[in-house]
């Protein structure tokens, strides 16, 4: 499986085979790398391309312009992208904070305490994260219309909690399980008070886990489309909905370049975040699936 095998007899044939295996690894890696990044690259190239050259197939930056970004934020065309960004930030931010507030306690109990029905509780939480969004949208649409919440922020935050909270609990539980909690006791033995032990030992240990979970929760909420497309109005529309129904300069003409620019604006912060915290995010994503 591992391509770099332990050095066998220095036969040329073996070495050639090894070099061939190595080469294949690099070729495969290059294919994966390109496949994952090319569409993203194409989005950025198009975002910076003059609208007249929308379908130019030159593979590098040509006819570079900022116009598309101006279009994206242009109020005259009926785009309120700045507002949409703030809406998304607000909805995702509140969802993340609420989910963490509730999730941290639950995850602590699930990872540290012994109690009956633990299996059941975890099953319920996992089941909740797999829950289809449409099954919530229908009743909530009517409910929120009846109580006058349609198009409000809480109408977007509440259903988002339904899938972000389970994700938070699930990820935090597996993180907490891996933490060296004995250190807390050692600190107490060494003379720390309960509060000091918590502040100086547990908090620094738990902070990265909580932070990573916060990123995952935020991304999940930021990327949400179905619920927002049904329960938001012009004032509370989030970025994903705005991008899906974007208005260009010409009616009946898909504003490809502007949409790509909007996509770039929405995606670049996420991509930067993901690249910086790559290791932690991978750990968070895969936490619980193995072990």
């Amino acid at each position: 499986m591992t391509a770099v095998s332990i050095d066998t007899a220095p036969k040329t044939a073996a070495r050639r085979r090894e070099r061939w295996a190595n080469g294949r690894t690099y070729i495969s890696a290059a294919i994966i790398f390109i496949w994952c990044l090319i569409p993203f690259y194409w989005m950025i190239v198009t975002a910076f391309r003059d609208v007249g050259y929308t379908f130019d197939s030159t593979p590098f930056f040509t006819h570079v312009t900022w116009d598309n970004f101006t279009t994206v934020f242009s109020e005259n065309l009926g785009n309120h992208f700045g507002r949409n960004l703030l809406n998304s930030l607000l909805v995702s931010g509140v969802t993340t904070v609420v989910a963490l507030l509730f999730g941290v306690f639950a995850a602590y109990a699930l990872s540290r305490l012994e109690f009956r029905f633990k299996f059941l509780v975890l099953g319920f939480i996992l089941g909740a994260s797999m829950f289809p969004g449409v099954a919530l949208v229908t009743p909530l649409f009517q409910l929120f219309t009846n109580i006058g919440w349609y198009g409000t922020y809480q109408a977007l935050i509440i259903p988002n909690i339904s899938f972000v909270l389970p994700l938070t609990v699930y990820t935090l539980t597996s993180f907490f399980r891996e933490m060296p909690w004995e250190l807390e006791e050692s600190a107490r033995i060494d003379g720390c008070t309960q509060g000091q032990a918590f502040r100086k030992v547990i908090m620094p240990l738990a902070a990265p886990a909580v932070f990573t979970t916060a990123i995952l929760a935020f991304i999940a909420s930021w990327n949400e489309f179905l619920i927002a497309s049904q329960l938001s109005n012009d004032q509370t529309k989030t970025v994903t909905v705005a991008i899906a129904y974007f208005a260009g300069a010409q009616a009946h003409q898909e504003p490809y370049t502007a949409v790509m620019a909007a996509g770039t604006v929405v995606t670049i912060p996420l991509v930067i975040l993901v690249l910086i915290f790559q290791r932690k995010i991978v750990a968070g994503l895969t936490a619980g699936a193995v072990k």
Binding site: W35, P39, E114, Q142, L165, S174, M203, E254, T267, V290
Partner: protein, 339 residues
Amino acid sequence: MSTLAQPKRAPETPSPKPKKVQKEVGQDRAATSQGRWAFWLISPALVLLAVVIVYPVVNAIVMAFQKDQGLDPVTKVFVQGGAAGFDNFVHWLAQKCGSAACAPGTLGSQFWDAVGTTFFFTVVTVVLETVLGFWMAIIMARTFRGRSALRAAVLVPWAIPTAVTAKLWFFIFAFDGIANKLFGTAILWTGSEWPARWAIIISDVWKTTPFMALLILAGLQIIPAEVYEAAKVDGASAWQRFTQITLPLVKPALMVAVLFRVLDALRMYDLPAIMTQGSNGTTTLSILVVEQIRQGFNSAAALSTITFLIIFLVAFIFVRFLGANAVASATPKTKGQEK
């Protein structure tokens, strides 16, 4: 950051109780005190989940048994609300509008097509993602220069919002778009049945294979290298090592990953909704529900309940018969238990 970590303080302050427990004196009393603690720590989250999930679902089930107000499509008589019995379910499952069969083109006539489309998408995308994901995971597990760059690159499609992914591939698959130019074809990708389906499948595979690959990679990494060395010494071929060692050992992680992806694919909405608006045979169950919402809540509630039941059934089959036990692999073993 610190504000986020702050709330942890509350359960910690009185935490000597669970601490004492570890001394394993009087197992019973310890268990009760831990149980009480756990109850207070978990209840808020469970109550919140109940409010945001259980309440709407119960609401939907109640709605599903009520009539929608409006004109009866056959008799053209105004129908008041009121109890409907199983009418709404029969409407979808038997594709009946009133007493007659639903006219082609109406939402009512599309139920089984939508079920077929949803399962088609699910099977094709999950199979492709599993195979490609496995391959990606194997490459990422190897040691070579640039490995961390590859792992970072793989996260990019995952991080992009699905709505943006849909628009991006919609552009790539535009008639004058790069896909047609690259392959020298002139296909109306999102304008006819099979190309539209494949466009959606390709977008979905691009977007979610990395997630699959990372889950499988995590499974691969817990296999000790010595196992492979031992097999090599015993003269096992690469293929034998793969089928005899890798597959069985990675199976639990793989099954969980597949389960996650299947349940996710069954509720697919964003990609077809944005790329084709569900036209040309790409209407999934989720799209059908959303279209129905504007035409009648109660009927939509019945359909969303059916959708939920289908997904529940598939999850049940997976866990029961295929051994994809996500709960078991997620149930933490506390340290006392292991010893």
